[in-house]
Symmetry: C2
Subunit: 202 residues, 2 copies
Amino acid sequence: MEKLKYTVITGASSGIGYETAKAFADRDKPLILVARRKKRLQQLKQAIRQKNPNLEVLIFPVDLTIKENVYQLFSDLTIYELETWINNAGIGMYGGLRTNDLQKTEHLLQLNIEAFAILSSLFVKDYFSKAGTQLINISSAGRYTIVPNAVLYCATKFFVSAFTGRDSRRIDCCWCQHASQVISSCCHQNRVRPDSSEHGYL
Amino acid sequence: MEKLKYTVITGASSGIGYETAKAFADRDKPLILVARRKKRLQQLKQAIRQKNPNLEVLIFPVDLTIKENVYQLFSDLTIYELETWINNAGIGMYGGLRTNDLQKTEHLLQLNIEAFAILSSLFVKDYFSKAGTQLINISSAGRYTIVPNAVLYCATKFFVSAFTGRDSRRIDCCWCQHASQVISSCCHQNRVRPDSSEHGYL
């Protein structure tokens, strides 16, 4: 029996991550779903299994703003064979430097930049030479246009897009031998509304 | 007697920071010089004082890759009145994700992004409304053109430039009421050669 090849999605409990999980499930891709909220992940798993009862869906409730958790997650996943890694987890934040809470600023940088860069690095180190694997990074329209009241958030997405591809408006091959993609969502007009209210950052 | 108004320069021990310190000294600006290497700072102070014996030059040997040091530095400086804050400290790094050392990656992110964002935030919180103050952030030509073998470094400079100004090719007023500037240096053809060899990152 062929070994399952999983798709990992961070930030899968809501928004783009949630919809991406359902889209990959529709393509019969075994899933590893990562997010802070266990209950949300369980609900998503249940929804997917109702439609596709035989699909393998694993959930990992992890807070990726804590660096140790980032390394632990990847270490925990080494027993699985991965096909696709989707860095979707991210926090939004409105506000200016004068008023921004510094702890929230730190969380934003830890998740949107540090966890993102570490997980990308770990995945590429292990999977660069494996045919059929891909790294997909979710960016934002804030990568192209600085939203005046969300400059810090937008700057993290400039980082994500620059990191991912030389010209990140198109699918570009930069890090992975096979595929590395950056996908942008529009923070004002996207069809998938990020569930930012519960983070308290937007 | 009027209180001295200091110019703070991070990463002052070499490269652009070093030359910037001398340039501000030539304009009789009292200096607070920050870098890891105490001896280099002492030598710079000595060189400045030989030319301008009465100029106030304070040195703060600090490793800004450690977050606690970042906050401690700013706290230590609250007893001084600041006029200009120059975020120059940064690490360069060549290499691809497959081969990059993860500890060096973390240091790069901690210094080029986290320390930079925290110090910018702290300065703006305290000085936004004070006339004549300015925040100057040093970026890189790597903000405009991704250098193929230094993508991670370049991505940090995309962050710096996006964070600093809406259109960072020109001097732009984004965070500070009075002035906020982003200055780019070219990592291949700049006149001021960064002293990267000692960091072991280039």
